[in-house]
């Protein structure tokens, strides 16, 4: 069966843009040490706090899992949302935009490439964190864990594509916006504690970040010690994530079109040093 030419072009562009990130992850291995070892130091602080407080042992697992998932959030902020700013500085952005392919393919390639390098970091954190802090996993449904993980990442990278589109008009402020989003999300998405403790409405509002629900569901499925710690049931969280995936992808497509239009009016697709 012959692939339609437009789909073939789309897929080629996805592979083309993902390639530098995947190759980059293998070619410069020096990044692996700071990316995998240093996050462990941050996690250790939370682990010791929980131990001093004599918190249930699954809290250590919560922290390790949350710490691993920060890799994806950081990737979204710095390698998706603000990426077009860097691409503009090197004149790549104008070349991406003037290519006869949907910019969604470029974003998707960026996302898949970033997913690859982030997964290496997340895997290293899980492995090292579990070994160092003696985390025991009691996976109740591996299939559902994998499904939640997959949906979380699709929705999250959809959100990353949306942010990248929204930041298309930005100059240096994109860097500041990413910075402003980094720490608050650590808190509101409950990276190091069960999000339920924020209260229902705060947790519900934070659920706009797909990692909030994904993390909560995965914790419930991997550390079923205290069932009252979950925000919503894993199936419900899975359903909401399933809904968020197309919503973010659709919104990013619409936003990208509108932002490209606005950028062509303002002349910000190729102007540098803004």
């Amino acid at each position: 069966m012959r692939i339609p030419p437009s789909l073939e072009l789309f897929l080629r562009a996805v592979v083309g843009r993902a390639y530098p990130r995947i190759v980059g992850a293998n070619r410069e291995l020096s990044w692996l040490i700071p990316e995998s070892v240093l996050p462990i130091l941050g996690l250790a602080a939370y682990v010791y706090v929980y131990r001093v407080m004599k918190a249930p042992p699954e809290f250590v697992g919560y922290v390790v899992l949350g710490g691993a998932m920060t890799a994806y959030w950081l990737n979204i902020l710095w390698s998706m949302a603000s990426q077009f700013y860097w691409e503009k500085e090197t004149a790549n952005l104008q070349l991406f935009i003037m290519a006869p392919v949907s910019p969604m393919a470029i974003l998707l390639g960026m996302g898949i490439g970033g997913l690859f390098s982030s997964t290496i970091r997340a895997g290293a954190v899980i492995l090292l964190g579990s070994l160092l802090f003696g985390v025991t996993y009691q996976v109740t449904s591996l299939g559902l864990v994998l499904l939640v993980f997959f949906l979380s990442l699709v929705a999250l990278y959809g959100m990353g594509m949306l942010l990248a589109s929204l930041f298309l008009l930005s100059g240096r402020e994109a860097w500041n916006l990413s910075n402003a989003l980094q720490e608050p999300v650590y808190l509101f998405s409950g990276f190091y504690f069960p999000v339920k403790s924020l209260g229902f409405w705060a947790a519900a509002a934070a659920s706009i970040i797909p990692l909030t629900l994904g993390l909560d569901a995965m914790r419930q499925l991997m550390f079923p010690g205290d069932p009252t710690m979950g925000f919503l049931s894993p199936w419900m969280e899975c359903g909401i994530l399933l809904l968020l995936c197309p919503v973010f992808l659709y919104l990013s497509k619409v936003a990208l079109k509108k932002m490209e239009h606005a950028a062509r009016i303002r002349g910000t697709l190729s102007l540098r040093w803004q």
């Binding site: 083309g16 843009r17 390639y19 006869p100």
Partner: protein, 329 residues
């Protein structure tokens, strides 16, 4: 067959912070035929790049219309993008972590070039521009000239119908610039029907390469014709080159009657100032010499020169292209 490029009263304004507006293009009318190597000449800030950005669908015009291969740049974006490519001088596109070959392959994928075909073209292009031995070198290790050559290859690897070259030899050494010019000529010969719009502020480059040139300044097209015809227009006046011993500011000459334009450059090494004048007629020459003598300038030599495109620009605009000190008469 539609024109390769057509613009009608094209205007582009940029609104800056503080309410200031810059008119980068001011009613540009241009027609480039298929198969032409067309040059757009002008100093920095003349509007060349803005015009190209509109034609490659990166900018909307404020008013007026522009067509590429008969397609409207505001409406027919995708079909235009399928037909074009652009190379800008001094750009740093690509990723340092990739090799030259990988970078070119990556960009070819955005145009859907099949793998085999892409690598075949890449090999050929790298050979032509003398980058074959650097094919597997990381982009981050390339010199500026090598990187510029790589970007040049990027423009051709997609085999565009219409190619926009925005100062392609900017910052290159003489040899590299010569290689690039030679390839442009070969490509045009081997691909009849393809069109190149070349912007440059190197007049000799335009003179060597272009079938026709347009001279642009402050967003307006001042003249458009073949290089020969443009130079012929200037030969009506007198072009004089005067060498003076010492380094001088000669801007005071600008008000003198009979001087249509002047430019001068000083060489610290030789302690010499070379003054180029476009005069209304030969009758003005004695007056100029007399004035220089009265001011006790030491004249080393005077010669009448054949017009170049630089002189065309000087005549049209009243100042030189590259000389910041040149003045408007």
């Amino acid at each position: 067959m539609p024109e390769a490029i057509l613009t009608e009263d094209l205007v582009r304004e940029f609104h800056l912070k503080g309410g200031r507006t810059i008119r980068a293009l001011d009613g540009v009318n241009l027609q480039v035929d298929p198969g032409e190597l067309f040059g757009l000449l002008g100093p920095n800030g003349a509007g060349k790049t803005t015009l190209i950005k509109i034609l490659v669908t990166l900018l909307y015009p404020t008013s007026g219309r522009a067509f590429v291969d008969g397609l409207d740049v505001t409406r027919d974006v995708l079909p235009i993008r399928q037909r074009i490519n652009m190379v800008s001088g001094g750009e740093y596109s690509g990723y340092g972590i990739l090799t030259v070959k990988e970078t070119l392959w990556m960009f070819s994928q955005f145009y859907g070039v099949p793998y085999k075909e892409a690598f075949k073209r890449i090999e050929e292009l790298l050979e032509v521009v003398g980058l074959k031995s650097e094919a597997n070198m990381r982009v981050s290790k390339l010199s500026t000239g090598m990187r510029q050559k790589m970007n040049f290859c990027r423009g051709f690897v997609t085999d565009p119908k219409i190619l926009f070259l925005d100062e392609p030899t900017l910052g290159l050494d003489v040899e590299a610039a010569r290689d690039i010019r030679a390839y442009i000529k070969t490509w045009m010969k081997e691909h009849p029907g393809r069109t190149i719009l070349l912007t440059t502020h190197y007049m000799a480059e335009a003179d060597e390469l272009c079938d026709r040139v347009a001279i642009i300044d402050h967003g307006e097209i001042l003249a458009c014709d073949t290089p020969q015809a443009l130079k012929k227009k200037v030969s009506g006046g007198t072009l004089l080159e005067i060498s003076l011993s010492g380094l001088y500011d000669l801007s005071w000459l600008k008000g003198n009657s009979g001087i249509k334009g002047l430019t001068y450059s000083s060489s610290i090494e030789k302690s010499r100032t070379t003054l180029k004048l476009v005069l209304e007629s030969e009758e003005v020459v004695p007056g100029v010499i007399k004035e220089l003598n009265q001011r006790e300038f030491s004249i080393l030599g005077i010669q009448s020169v054949e017009p170049t495109l630089e002189d065309v620009f000087l005549t049209l605009v009243g100042r030189g292209l590259s000389d910041e000190n040149s003045t408007l008469s």
